[in-house]
Amino acid sequence: MSLIKNNEFVDNVFARVADGETPTDGAILVSLKRWQADRDALMARNAPLGLALTADQSPEALGADVHHFAVIELEFPKFRDGRGYSWARLLRQRLGYKGEIRATGDVLRDQWLFMSRCGIDAFEVRPGTRLEDFRAALNEQTVFYQPSTDRVRNVLELRHKTHSSRQSALAAAE
């Protein structure tokens, strides 16, 4: 799998560490179970830490712990499984998570934009994926009705100036 972030291919520096495995040096990605079991040891490491959530794991219970992670990976086992969209919004809006949210699994071209709007900013993509397709997919729609996590001014804000200034104030306050 290749990784796209900020509209570019980037190297995936996070090594996935299985639950029984000893962590390697450098950036690692662990499961929720591993995090819960080895929280203190993992936090004592002097390297970036990533958390891999499966589709049925809500990030909500993590609370302020989310800020310990440089990356939170959300799993999409099937493209039809849309739970990750809610997890991403909870991470960004409710928990105030500022790190990377990475989508992995069965993700379709036409889902990248929805994901991006929910706060996912890194995408594991199938080998052979072309960057121009990714960029095009993210620009096929430019007008959005809903307030979301991407800070794009939505239709309500564009229609009603007073509303939009209130929204900008909210955004600035964050």
Partner: protein, 551 residues
């Protein structure tokens, strides 16, 4: 009615181009059918038994004459000259070619229409009362709120891959004509003690394999919190709705499994969070902006029209049609007309391109340029002057649109069934036609009175059989079509799910069975009782005895 502004138009135009690209990739072979499927299903394009089927959204069933003409034009140019109005107030084309779909969508976009979210596991077309803005007893125009919900739900980034499809219906009347209690979310708009709008949100109703009547989950939600409450409900469902079993993935199963109290608690907790976040609070300016599109048309000050008495005497057919298909309007001198798409022996909900043109012309001249599609698969001219009724009826009648049967036993809802649908177990149209012909006699229909007969060709219940006073469900028994009958369902404010009466019937036995049930009712009814009332008073037993003694 609502008109697109530049933003609404751009959403639709961009979608047309996006889909054009997807179709091009499919036609060039870059996408396989398997890869194309999820994309086309985001856009109302199904692969049916014989051809692609395109489902066009008609938000809350409201059309301008210009839009209806375009629907007719598309039927003529790209299809076989007719199309089918559905129980979701939508329109289906049964024979379009894949290569033409982008052009069809582009044509639709020119009249502010689209096929967005008419399929897929997302929030589908919002439905509402087909008499909105015309009937007595409304507290507000439900289409204002339906439009607000339409916009919020269009390409919602979080809720486009739900466990299953999601249907929302809205009414602002104590008399529920939108079947809101058998929707995933049904909204009743009312006014509270201070005359302020308040929204009661019913969740977890639905038909299909496991039918339920919805529970009141949100009570008295404030207008500017409506979207926040809906977002909270959707988020609970998106997180915790079942995804392991297609048949248990609707929100009704979640509500049933955790119970309405727990559902209420979870939604309330999420609602508090969404509200605190603030971004979804509806600005009053937006409510006002949309309200302005639904201000009442410029009704003339009229008195009750008396010329009709003479016309009624001159034409029995007109008098009968008037009695049956004309409903009272809230403004003196006006009337609400149901244009029946249920001619005796016809295909319920089908209309030809010529008929669409005619109705569009009549709407333009006589009903403030507006047509409604009812979930009962008829068309409605909501604001006709009483003094225009006779001339209107003559035009309709000449075009095969003068059938007088609104609410009667031949005003049948039927899904397309196995004649078209890939999911169906049995045909529906044949049963509708057989029952319709059996009860063709209008005096007999009128004597029977209100009787809602609804037919589905499979358990997905697109034909709403669960809420038919008499419901008919097509099943497959070892390759042979059989039909299971239910009694006592209702989709109105007294919503109930029909009871299965007993073993299923063969195709050629269904009309007989319906006749036996109707005769049982006629013999047992007390003055003023409809079929449903008699059934509710007596229960299923007397009907069962009659039906199965005879067999």
């Amino acid at each position: 009615m609502y008109r697109y502004d530049e933003f609404d138009q751009k959403v639709v135009d961009e979608r047309v181009e996006q889909f054009r690209g997807q179709v091009a990739r499919r036609l060039s072979g870059e996408l396989t059918e398997d890869q194309f499927k999820p994309l086309r299903l985001m856009n109302g394009l199904y692969l049916q038994l014989h051809a692609y089927m395109l489902r066009v959204a008609i938000p809350y069933g409201t059309l301008s004459s210009r839009q209806l003409r375009m629907l007719g034009h598309i039927a003529r140019k790209y299809d076989k000259g007719y199309a089918h109005f559905t129980t979701r107030q939508n329109l289906q084309y049964n024979w379009p070619k894949l290569a033409d779909i982008p052009d069809i969508l582009a044509d639709l976009a020119t009249v502010e229409m689209h096929a967005i979210q008419t399929s897929g596991n997302c929030i589908r077309n919002v439905t509402s009362d087909h008499f909105a803005g015309a009937a007595e007893g409304e507290v507000d125009d439900p289409r204002v709120w339906s439009e607000i919900i339409r916009q919020w739900s269009t390409f919602h980034p979080e809720f486009s891959f739900l466990p299953r499809k999601f249907k929302i219906a809205v009414t602002a009347s104590a008399k529920d004509r939108a079947a809101i209690k058998v929707h995933d979310i049904g909204i009743v708009i009312r006014r509270d003690a201070t005359a302020t709008l308040a929204f009661d949100v019913y969740v977890g109703g639905g038909q299909g394999r496991t039918p339920f009547v919805g529970h009141l989950i949100g009570e008295g939600i404030a207008a500017n919190d409506l979207l926040a409450y809906l977002e909270a409900t959707m988020r609970v469902y998106n997180q915790y709705g079942r995804r392991d079993n297609l048949y248990k993935s609707r929100i009704k199963i979640l509500v049933h499994q955790i119970g309405p109290d727990e559902m209420r608690r979870q939604v309330a907790a999420e609602f508090a969070e969404v509200k605190a976040q603030g971004a979804l609070a509806l600005p009053q300016a937006e409510i006002d902006r949309i309200n302005a599109y639904f201000t009442a048309p410029a009704f003339e000050t009229l008195t009750e029209d008396t010329s009709r008495a003479k016309q009624r005497q001159a034409s029995n057919a007109f008098a009968t049609w008037h009695d049956i298909n004309v409903a009272p309007h809230k403004v003196p001198g006006y009337a609400i007309i149901t244009v029946s798409l249920k001619p005796i022996g016809g295909v319920p909900g089908d209309a030809s391109a010529d008929q669409m043109d005619l109705i569009a012309d009549l709407a333009e001249r006589l009903s403030f340029d507006e047509v409604r599609v009812s979930h009962e698969q008829n068309l409605v001219l909501a604001h006709v002057k009483q003094s225009d009724l006779f001339a209107l009826w003559q035009k309709l009648d000449a075009a095969g649109l003068g059938t007088a049967n609104y609410g009667l036993i031949t005003d049948i809802i039927a899904c397309p069934g196995l004649d078209y649908c890939d999911l169906a177990n049995a045909r529906s149209i044949n049963i509708a036609q057989a029952v319709s012909k059996r009860f063709a006699d209008l005096d007999r229909q009128r004597n029977i009175g209100e009787l809602k007969l609804k037919i589905s060709g499979c358990i997905n219940a697109c034909g709403h059989h669960h809420v038919g006073h008499i419901g008919v469900l097509g099943v497959d028994k070892k390759g042979v079509e059989y039909y299971q009958i239910t009694l006592g369902g209702s989709g109105d404010e007294t919503a109930s799910i029909g009871d299965i009466i007993g073993p299923a019937f063969a195709e050629n036995e269904v009309a007989d069975a319906v006749e036996t049930l109707v005769d049982t009712y006629l013999n047992a009814r007390q003055p003023g009782e409809r079929f449903l009332d008699t059934y509710r008073r007596l229960g299923i037993q007397p009907f069962r005895e009659k039906l199965y003694v005879a067999h």
